[in-house]
């Protein structure tokens, strides 16, 4: 992260943090607004809301948590976590294909 920067460089960082803050507030308003728009199918609303949430998550993790300019070791830890997190989500998908024999499906 940015530990190597001298203190006077931080005013530049502060401006960036404020920009991220305004973007997060804007993202929150967009998320609420989009939830009132009937996109035709609820799955689309879910997709839009999660897409905006991912964008906001990227801003928090990338800039407030400085993941955008982190050391390799942190990326390694996060990559490891992401692998298992995605695996966890796939378990749900697999569970929908796991029916006992003779199950009647409607």
């Amino acid at each position: 992260m940015s530990d190597e920067h001298p203190p006077d460089h931080f005013s530049h960082h502060v401006r960036r943090y404020l920009f991220v803050f305004y973007a997060l507030l804007f993202g929150t308003l967009i998320t609420v607004g989009a939830s009132y728009i009937p996109f035709g199918h609820r799955a689309v609303n879910i997709g839009v809301a999660l897409f905006i949430a991912c964008g906001k998550g990227f801003l928090v993790a990338g800039y407030f948590m400085h993941l955008i300019s982190e050391r390799k070791m942190i990326y390694g830890i996060m990559a490891f976590t992401a692998f298992f997190f995605i695996g966890l989500m796939f378990l749900i998908v697999f569970s929908f294909a796991d029916f006992p024999p003779l199950t009647v499906r409607h």
């Binding site: 530990d3 203190p7 931080f10 960082h13 502060v14 943090y17 404020l18 991220v20 803050f21 997060l24 507030l25 929150t28 998320t31 609420v32 939830s35 609820r42 609303n45 879910i46 809301a49 999660l50 905006i52 949430a53 906001k56 998550g57 928090v60 993790a61 407030f64 948590m65 050391r71 390799k72 070791m73 942190i74 830890i77 996060m78 490891f80 976590t81 298992f84 997190f85 966890l88 989500m89 378990l91 749900i92 569970s95 929908f96």
Partner: protein
């Protein structure tokens, strides 16, 4: 002579990181898996719910939005507190971190208000099969369901699901389960009084009410515990812990960074919880 553990303040040459930073990221990795497991449980419960039975609009969106803004604001004050440490501005650091603690307490206060709303919201199954739904106005002192004594008054409405199926049932279900639907918006709430003898069973919108309230209280309760824990740590670093500013400034700054990373993670979790629980 006192020996100081290496890499407590200065980064290691091989990783470029000081020990506490590696520690907090490993901890956050475990937190991702903890909340990930609960999110996957939420998805499984939601997808598996029978048609019409998964609640929408049960939570107050303006209140949830306000709490989201509170948490986002606390994130910027946290990162500004860390930047103030880097710029050697004690006064600004104290101001920003005081704001973070106050915002954390505001978040917990708003969440408590929301919880109170759910614990005073009753679903009453009547002896004739109808369901009365609304907020508690009054319960007489002698109210006892087992002994069939006393009365209860709610501000709400009645729904009749008896002998209904197909579209008719779905319309009635929307009155209870989809509060953003046209059917639910048309319903007029009035004061309804029931004798205990008219009631088959009653329960609040607490965790045991249905799978939605169960996962809602589990997810938001766990998150609120994280907010409280973070507020305690940040409060300590703002108060007695800030003595380290004078004696070992770099180490103190690292502590602020590590506690800040935890706080941003708490904000990150809420960014996903808010749309999932309040809006979708």
């Amino acid at each position: 002579m006192t020996e100081i553990l290496p890499y407590i303040v200065k980064p290691r040459e091989d990783t470029g990181l000081y020990n506490a930073k590696v520690g907090i990221w490993l901890f956050l990795a475990s937190e991702v898996m903890l909340f990930g497991a609960l999110f996957s449980a939420y998805i499984l419960l939601r997808v598996g719910a029978p048609e019409g039975y998964w609640p929408h609009g049960w939570l107050n969106i303006p209140v949830g939005t306000a709490n989201t803004v509170v948490l986002i604001t606390s994130s910027i004050t946290t990162v500004m507190a860390w930047a103030s440490c880097k710029m050697n501005q004690l006064g600004r650091f104290k101001l920003f971190h005081a704001c973070t603690v106050l915002l954390a307490l505001t978040f917990v206060g708003i969440k408590s208000y929301e919880y109170h709303d759910k614990f005073t919201h009753y679903s009453i199954k009547l002896a004739d099969g109808k369901i009365a739904d609304g907020h508690l106005v009054e319960k007489t002192k002698d109210f006892n369901l087992a002994q069939k004594t006393g009365e209860v008054v709610i501000h709400g409405h009645e729904v009749n699901l008896v002998n209904k199926s197909g579209d008719e049932l779905q319309k009635e279900l929307r009155v209870i389960y989809d509060l953003r639907s046209p059917e639910a918006r048309k319903v007029r709430h009035t004061e309804l009084k029931y004798r205990a003898s008219q009631i088959a069973s009653l329960e609040t919108y607490g965790p045991r009410h249905n799978t939605y309230t169960a996962i809602y209280f589990t997810l938001t309760g766990l998150h609120a515990l994280h907010v409280i824990a973070g507020a305690i740590v940040i409060g300590f670093l703002w108060g007695p812990g800030s003595e380290l500013w004078q004696t070992d400034h770099e180490r103190f700054t690292n502590r602020i960074e590590v506690s800040g990373l935890f706080w941003h993670f708490v904000d990150l979790v809420w960014i996903f919880l808010f749309p999932v629980l309040y809006l979708l």
